[in-house]
């Protein structure tokens, strides 16, 4: 892989280099390389078990890669874990905020973990931004799905991350709530130049939100490109059709893409 030198704001929010994860004979992620630029929203797509969550876990440092490396804002996570993770954050449906703390308690708690300056002020900003002011003293376990997602996003943006990882952020939300969340996340990318890695099974959402998508299947990146032009480039009517084709016939699709 050619080495690229970045400086200042050109530095990508995330650079994953030849990432692999093997569990014995099973290779969950196989030699995956990609970057997420500042201000860019990249969709990480693929069928269940394709390796999306494994990739995200390696980026977050909660799963060690078998080979390869991850740099967040140019900082190698294996060498300077705390510095790198202070520049990232995440929200995932399977990692809800502790339900026995209120919204404001959770934000203060995570704010301290991320070492945020002027925490009180920042927490108030997030409560306003995600329309959580009236829920500040409600325990997170008692919130609706939409309110829990908003709280998780408020936590994920507390530290003004350069890299935001979102694992199915709109799953279980009604269309109206999902649209509001998408709009907030897009604003985050454009206004604060935050690089976003987004996984979703909703192809309409991916088309409307993502600047670029990576199709993962059986741990490998099979396709990469603009979600609005990619289907036509590969002979499919829609992104969903392309997804289904890649999911069902990953090896054939790979051969077609990389003959």
């Amino acid at each position: 892989m050619p080495s690229v030198t970045y400086n200042g704001s050109d530095r990508p929010a995330l650079r994953a280099t030849r990432l692999s994860k093997a569990y014995g004979e099973l290779t969950a992620v196989d030699d995956v390389s990609f970057t997420v630029k500042r201000g860019e929203i990249v969709g990480l797509l693929g069928p269940n078990g394709a390796g999306k969550t494994t990739t995200i876990n390696m980026v977050l440092g909660v799963l060690a890669a078998s080979t390869g490396g991850v740099e967040i804002d140019g900082i190698d996570i294996s060498k300077q874990r705390a510095r790198a993770l202070a520049r990232a954050n995440f929200a995932a449906v399977y990692a809800a905020l502790p339900g026995n703390l209120t919204v404001i308690e959770n934000l203060r708690f995570f704010g301290l973990l991320y070492g945020i300056d002027s925490l009180r002020h920042r927490v108030e900003e997030m409560l306003q931004e995600f329309d959580l002011v009236h829920l500040r003293h409600t325990k997170c376990g008692l919130l609706s799905s939409g309110e829990q997602t908003r709280s998780a996003l408020a936590k994920a943006l507390l530290n003004k991350p350069q890299l935001l990882l979102l694992d199915e952020p709109t799953a279980s939300l009604d269309p109206s709530a999902a649209q509001l969340i998408r709009a907030k996340i897009k604003t985050q990318a454009t206004r604060d130049r935050c690089g976003i890695l987004w996984t979703s099974h909703n192809m309409t959402e991916v088309e409307s939100v993502c600047d670029r998508v990576l199709f993962l299947s059986r741990g490998k990146v099979l396709l990469e490109g603009n979600p609005r032009t990619l289907p036509q480039e590969h002979g499919s009517a829609t992104l969903e059709d392309l997804f289904i084709r890649v999911a069902r016939e990953p090896l054939a699709a790979a051969a077609e893409v990389h003959p």
């Binding site: 994860k21 569990y23 969550t53 494994t54 876990n57 977050l60 440092g61 909660v62 799963l63 060690a64 874990r81 705390a82 510095r83 993770l85 202070a86 990232a88 954050n89 995440f90 995932a92 399977y94 990692a95 809800a96 905020l97 502790p98 339900g99 026995n100 703390l101 209120t102 308690e105 203060r108 708690f109 995570f110 704010g111 301290l112 973990l113 991320y114 070492g115 325990k139 936590k155």
Partner: protein, 267 residues
Amino acid sequence: MKLRPIAGIVLRQYYLMRGSPVRLFPMVTWVAIDIVLWGFITRYLNSVSGGGMDFVPTLLGAVLLWDFCTRIMQGVSTAFLEDVWSRNFLNLFASPLSVSEYIAGLVITSVVTSSIGLVVMLLLATGIFHLQFFSMGLPLIAFLMVLFMFGIALGIFGSAMVLRLGPASEWLLWPLPALLSPFAAVFYPLHVLPHWMQWVSHALPPAYVFEGMRALLAGRPFPGGLLLQGSAAAVFELLLAAYFYGRVYDQAVRTGLLARYSAESVA
């Protein structure tokens, strides 16, 4: 280590207790029951022993110290289990929080919670049963420190065990102090134990503490050797437990166990 992440861990435990004061109940109830129960036993023993021996400092003092050690251990493990129960590992360890900062936060939480228990025990033991706990002076503080370090070590070891074996293994954690208590020679001198049990006792810092306390109560000179041996064993076991936790954590990151802890229940 940075202070703010440590403060975050402590603050979370404070919020949990403030939000659900019932969490304070086990901190004071069991120790109070122990003191009252053993207090009356010692009173009865004093009445039937013909005045030859005062059981209050030997038995009630031993109960108080052993409970203190147990509460320290449980303080660390309960704070850890709160994160297991709320499936919070992914949120915690995907943040800049380091393992050492996390453990430091658990230890500080435990110091606070076990101190509450200690105060309750002292009030009851002194007020009702006239235990002169601090009459032994400075050696008592030194022995308390040994028990404190051992309690922390045991709590860290137990937490590592749960991290390694999964949430269901918390049931292995609670009986740990009870399993060790016969070897710790809390209520009897070490020499009454069979030879093989004495070998195990020599690895346990509390055994040195309780031997030393009995020596002091019997009016013998300050048992500096026992304090030194107990302290050395406690420091060694504390370092060993921290090392063990670090290894288990590294393995959990390598195998994906840490990530799965939040995503699913590990049987």
